[in-house]
Amino acid sequence: MSGFFYLIPISLLLGTGGLAVFLWSLKAKQYEDLEGAASRILFEDDVPLADAVSAEPNPHDRDE
């Protein structure tokens, strides 16, 4: 049994990789519009998501 112990770190690494990818896709707002994503796959000329610009309102930038 102990001969297979090297499998444990490998499986943990793979699992961590999966977790990291999920967290990244969450941060990249890939789950914001699941219905839309299902439809967009059929568009030929779909544009990629815009960069995640900070959505914080910045009163100094308001040109009045």
Partner: protein, 731 residues
């Protein structure tokens, strides 16, 4: 006074109006570098093809940097540098058949809570699955140093998982304890922490059992419940936020030097002169300086008939200017206006309402002490029977783990989530699960009249009794006006060659056909001879052709919905601010009791009196004047067309015109209350069986894992029964 000549087609309904540049700017937020971002709600988007059409059409607009539709939320995000591009975009949307309206960017708060919960869920899932994999090795018979290595690895994974994924529970438990209360999270946290410490100790002394898998999968199951619960509430809130805003953001102010500036409503001070176009809402309490118009006051005091406004008329903030442009002078700042007065009353009413404690928390009140006493008793009992300290502690902690309210933690939210989805599919937004619990307890239903029982728009009485020829002429004339009564008959329009069409706000419409002059409007104005004819008339050269009587159109299914509520043993009543005769006629038709001509205070007092008599009141209302009543009632509902404050105060918002929503919501609330009780009984029954086994010391980690998963699955399956449940008598 506005005039339309013949070459102009009849005006569009007010909804299609494109907001001004200044309003767009106020509702947007800056991204830096002169780039602005706006969000608009587009309720009519319904498929991928709509997304494509909209994005392609908007792609051609100059100055619009980016436009992206979110199909799930029916929303469009646009980035722009010039507000003109946004106006063009809104107009384009309208032309494509997707009317859009601006809405304020939502608070990022809810978004962040959700992200934290879902990250915690992912981490807990990762941790519990990996530990479970290692633990299977122990169950399969690993011994000696192999077992120790597996336990140590499990512990190494469990520690960060518990620290990270458990945060929502630690925080909530701490908040409850600090205020001297307990909730469901207190026993959860105690169980998790003790089980972890014991497992750590057991690992160090090379003991055969460790509960790392149990604690992490416990958190995993509980987080699933939390995430679903949060998703349901967020979806309802965002749907409500997407509804068109009914309060004004600002107004066109006429400065003393004659220039016109658009000012946000907060900057309008008493004495300022405001130019108000037809179709705009009055931003602050004001008095008319110039012009004449009809004012729709239904949202403010419940009166269904429009009010004529002329020089000197006092206007209340929140009312809608229907027919003519007005010049008005502000008499109060926004914080002293009627709206703010209502807000203050609502806050007071809310503070006065007794705090409702959710069923789960009430159960936790009894549950936590019982479980903790049982654990303590097991510890003392085993010690007295001569067991060593370690064995007694193990048994005590096994009791805590096996009775840990995993099923109990899922029992209530799962039912609420399934119920909320049923309601959502039928156009009813549930803002909070506790609203469902409170709705099931209701024994009295109070309705507002205008806009709630009725649609708040007039319909013609006895359309058949009127000569179709005459009705056609009247309909043709009405097509030139935005007055609600005009809209009610304009569909009957026939081709007529009207010339010189003039609308006299507050009076009616006048037009010429050949030599004849037609007038549609108030009897006293349209008829040459002073008669005592009432209502709206169509006259040719001063002689009466027909009289039209209007009444506020009843919402579809109102009678059936009220009948069903009465059949379920609820007492139903109307509380209205409208005139007595109007309310009495409607109440007689629906066969329910009523009180008319009520001020907001009176409605509030009525609810407080009922509450004092021990009744649980459901208040359904839409107006500003219903706001305090909605806040004070045990549970409240509002239609989608309600004033913003009313929508925010209500526990439920229904989107469709039909009142069937109320019957459905009530039926589902009752059914969920039964299922919640069944679920609580199931989880308690499970504990009754599991507790003796734990106390006798037979609980190994394998037994704990099986028992926990099984009870959770049973509770979830029971909640899903709500999906197939049919509302009796529903179509």
């Amino acid at each position: 006074m506005s005039t339309w000549s013949l070459d102009l087609s009849p005006p569009e309904p007010p909804a299609a109006a494109v907001p001004g540049e200044e309003e767009i700017r106020l509702a947007a937020h800056a991204l830096g570098g002169g780039l602005m971002q706006s969000e608009v709600s587009v309720p009519s988007i319904h498929c991928g093809a709509c997304v494509r059409r909209i994005e392609t059409a908007l792609g051609g607009i100059k100055g619009l940097e980016h436009a992206r539709v979110n199909l799930s939320t029916r929303r469009l995000t646009m980035r722009w540098r010039a507000a003109g591009a946004m106006q063009e975009a809104m107009a384009t949307l309208g032309n494509l058949g997707y009317p859009a309206h601006l809405f304020d960017p939502p608070a990022r708060q809810g978004d962040q809570t959700f992200r934290e919960l879902i990250t915690a869920l992912a981490v807990a899932g990762f941790g519990s699955m990996n530990i479970m994999m290692l633990t299977v090795g122990v169950w399969a018979g690993a011994e000696g140093s192999t077992r120790d290595v597996l336990h140590i690895l499990s512990g190494l994974i469990a520690l960060p998982t518990l620290l990270y994924a458990g945060r929502p529970f630690y925080r909530s438990a701490w908040t409850a304890l600090r205020h001297g209360r307990t909730n469901m999270d207190v026993p959860i946290v105690i169980g998790v922490v003790l089980a972890f410490l014991l497992s750590l100790y057991d690992t160090l002394i090379h003991a055969p059992h460790a509960y790392f898998d149990a604690v992490t999968s416990l958190l995993f199951f509980l987080l699933i419940g939390r995430v679903l619960d949060h998703m349901m509430r967020e979806r309802a809130r965002s749907a409500v936020r997407g509804l068109a805003r009914l309060t004004t953001r600002g107004a066109l102010v006429l400065s003393p030097d004659g220039t016109r500036v658009y000012r946000p409503v907060e900057e309008i001070t008493p004495g300022v002169t405001i130019l108000l176009a037809a179709g705009e809402r009055i931003p602050v309490d004001a008095v008319v300086l110039k012009g004449a118009s009809d004012i729709d006051v239904s949202l403010v005091n419940g009166e269904s008939a429009p009010l004529a406004a002329e020089e000197g008329t006092v206007l209340r903030a929140g009312t809608l200017n229907l027919t003519g442009p007005l010049t008005i002078r502000a008499t109060a700042a926004v914080q002293d206006s009627f709206l703010s007065e209502m807000m203050r009353m609502m806050e007071a009413a809310e503070a006065g309402r007794s705090v409702y404690r959710r069923i789960a928390d009430r159960v936790a009140d009894y549950y936590a002490p019982v479980v903790h006493l049982a654990a303590l008793a097991a510890f003392v009992g085993w010690t007295l029977l001569g067991a060593d300290l370690h064995q007694s502690v193990t048994v005590a902690i096994a009791v805590l783990i096996i009775t840990c309210p995993c099923a109990l933690g899922l029992a209530v939210p799962m039912v609420h989530v399934v119920a909320a989805r049923r309601l959502f599919e039928n156009g009813v937004m549930l803002k909070d699960g506790s609203g469902l619990e409170r709705l099931a307890e209701v024994d009295t239903v109070l309705f507002d009249k205008t806009g709630t029982l009725t649609l708040g728009r007039p319909e013609l009485v006895d359309a058949q009794a009127i000569d179709p020829e005459v009705l056609g002429i009247a309909g043709g004339l009405a097509g030139w006006s935005r007055h609600p009564q005009s809209l009610a008959i304009s569909h009957a329009a026939r081709d007529c060659d009207f010339t010189d069409v003039v609308e006299h706000p507050g009076l009616g419409i006048e037009a010429r056909v050949g030599e004849d002059i037609y007038r549609l409007g108030r009897a006293g104005w349209a008829l040459q001879s002073a008669t005592d004819a009432k209502g709206t008339v169509l006259a040719r050269n001063g002689a009466m052709l027909a009289t039209f009587f209007f009444r506020d159109a009843l919402r579809p299914d109102a009678a059936q919905a009220i009948g069903a509520l009465k059949q379920r043993g609820l007492s139903v009543e109307i509380l209205s601010g409208d005139r007595r005769d109007v309310v009495a006629a409607l109440a007689a038709e629906l066969d329910i009791g009523f009180t008319a001509e009520m001020l907001p205070d009176d409605k509030l007092a009525r609810i407080e009196a009922l509450a004092a008599a021990g009744h649980k009141v459901l208040m359904i209302g839409d107006g500003l004047n219903d706001g305090p009543a909605l806040a004070a009632a045990h549970v409240s509902m509002a239609p989608a067309g309600a004033a913003d404050v009313g929508r925010n105060a209500a526990d439920f918002v229904f989107l469709h015109a039909s009142l069937d929503a109320i019957r459905l919501a009530h039926a589902i609330a009752r059914r969920s209350a039964r299922l919640v009780k069944a679920n609580l009984a199931l989880s308690i029954g499970y504990n009754v069986i599991a507790l003796p086994i734990a106390v006798l010391g037979y609980v190994t980690p394998l037994v704990a894992a099986l028992a926990m998963s099984l009870s959770s699955v049973i509770v979830v399956a029971n909640a899903l029964r709500l999906t197939g449940f049919r509302v009796r008598g529903a179509r």
